[in-house]
Amino acid sequence: MSRVRVGVTHLVLVGLGIVFLFPFYWLVSTALKPDAQIFAMPPVWVPRHPVWSNFWNGVKDIPFLLYTFNTIRICFLNVLGTVVASSLVAYSLAKIRWKGRNVLFYSLIATMILPGQVTMIPSFMIYKWLGWIGTLLPLTVPSFTGGAFSIFLLRQFFMTLPNDLSEAAKLDGCSEIGIYWRIILPLSKPALITVGLFAFVASWNDFLGPLLYLNDERSYTLAIGLQRFVSQHDAEWGRLMAASTLMVLPIVIIFFFAQRAFIGGIVLTGSKE
């Protein structure tokens, strides 16, 4: 590759990188500015004498800690449900030969194409009939039936594991659940971590679910709590940016520690076959 081309490529990438990062920089720097600097013209590029008051006030106003606790509780249940249920179903689709497993596999794809709006209203009615509106149950119970995306991803991964080991274990009298638990799961830790991470992020970010089912302020998650805060205090940019920073931060941290699991997972679902 010619040197000129390498140089130009780098230049474009650095430029694009700055453009992509800048909104995040602006998020954090606005959060650290007192109001006078937030609304100053021309803009203050680097906060002078950064203040933490936006963070304290934001945490106090929103009740940030309560919402974080609510969110984490939902995330934890969804990660647990998704990993357990999806791996069981994926095992059935990848490692057990039975009539009808292809139909079930196609049902995964079909549910991915189906717009959520089609099932939204009857699902709401089911939960209402069960008396679950306002509780965590509508936001957590469905994950214990597995998610189409997670099952798909785990199935792809299980398919790559050789059958020799499980065949040998079967000859030794090992049951199907034993093979799943002692052979397949230990070999699949990276894929399970990926699925768990995606479930965590999806549930941390979910907005429509809490919007539909949480009607008591004390049970709000961060996503809905933050949205309600915007609609009430739309000009308090310092506090809004501080609260948003705190909501984004865990995702950024998780991503940095588990980059490979994320990228590997996306690649696995994007691949054909």
Binding site: T9, L88, V89, W98, S107, L114, S123
Partner: protein, 294 residues
């Protein structure tokens, strides 16, 4: 043996089968039934035949406005994110240094919470003091657009914001690009192919399956565009960001016209299905399956 496999297969798949019945099969049938009813969610549904559909197609201007707004996002958003996602991936595929750092930078906005992203862009796109307009002003544009406060600019503003999240597709393109066998490029070089010829005749054909994947998921996602509009504009100004899913949500859970909203959901489903089938049909002509991954 076969019977035992069937039993075990069903047992292991039981969670999904239960979910399929409770969260998909029943709701699909129920919403189809509701769509022919007048239903407020409290009193039992009352059969009204095709009335909901008739009203939707002949008496409801807002429905067409929402459909238009949504098609706008699909028609511009999907190709735009295809071009930009692929473009960035091609840049990163040039064996440059620091590829994983760049990948992180470009990917991050696509996994941070949509609510937080929307609030951030509400601030960036503020007509008077937002960073975007301040920069445009610096560049000599005396009257920059009011973005989400202007019905003409609100959808382009959301498209612009959407480009920030282009990294999700980019990561998939990049992985596909890195799987293209080097031997193909070497052979093309021997035949005297230049950069553009290699791109057209080697790179693009080899990653068409992944392009198809991203186009389909992008299509389905764009038709259901919701959270950004709900948080940032709530449909305004002048209904210019009342998208299909937002309109449907409001009718179901603010007006309690659940029957009408169910009919809207079914029309959406049919549109998405039709588009998906068309893209798949066309893909027979432009997707190349025959890579080394088979």
């Amino acid at each position: 043996m076969e019977a035992r496999n069937l039993r075990n297969g069903l047992l292991f798949a039981a969670p999904w089968i239960v979910g399929l019945v409770v969260f998909y099969a029943y709701p699909i049938l129920a919403s189809l039934y509701y769509s022919f009813c007048s239903y407020d969610g409290i009193r039992p549904p009352r059969w009204t035949g095709l009335q909901n559909y008739h009203r939707m197609f002949f008496e409801d201007d807002l429905f067409f406005k929402a459909l238009y707004n949504t098609l706008y996002m699909v028609v511009f958003g999907v190709p735009l994110s295809l071009l930009c996602g692929l473009g960035v991936a091609l840049l990163l595929n040039q064996k440059v240094r620091g590829i994983s750092l760049y990948r992180t930078i470009f990917y991050l906005p696509s996994i941070t919470p949509v609510v937080a992203n929307s609030i951030l862009w509400l601030w960036l796109l503020n007509p008077d003091i937002g960073l975007v307009n301040v920069v445009l002003h610096h560049l000599g544009i005396a009257k920059p657009p009011a973005w989400i406060a202007d019905p003409l600019w609100s959808k382009p503003a959301l498209l612009l914001m959407g480009l920030w999240g282009v990294g999700g597709g980019m990561v998939i393109y990049l992985a596909a690009l890195q799987n293209v066998p080097v031997a193909l490029y070497e052979a093309a070089s021997l035949d005297g192919a230049g950069i553009l010829q290699k791109l057209r005749n080697v790179t693009l054909p080899m990653i068409t399956p992944v392009i198809l994947f991203n186009v389909i998921t992008g299509l389905i996602g764009s038709f259901q565009y919701f959270t950004e509009a709900y948080v940032m504009t709530n449909g305004g100004p002048e209904d210019s960001t009342t998208f299909y899913a937002l309109d449907l949500f409001n009718r179901a859970f603010q007006d309690f016209h659940m029957g009408y909203a169910s009919a809207m959901a079914w029309v959406l489903f049919l549109i998405v299905l039709l588009c998906t089938i068309l893209v798949f049909k066309s893909s027979l002509r432009w997707v190349y399956y025959g890579g080394e991954n088979r």
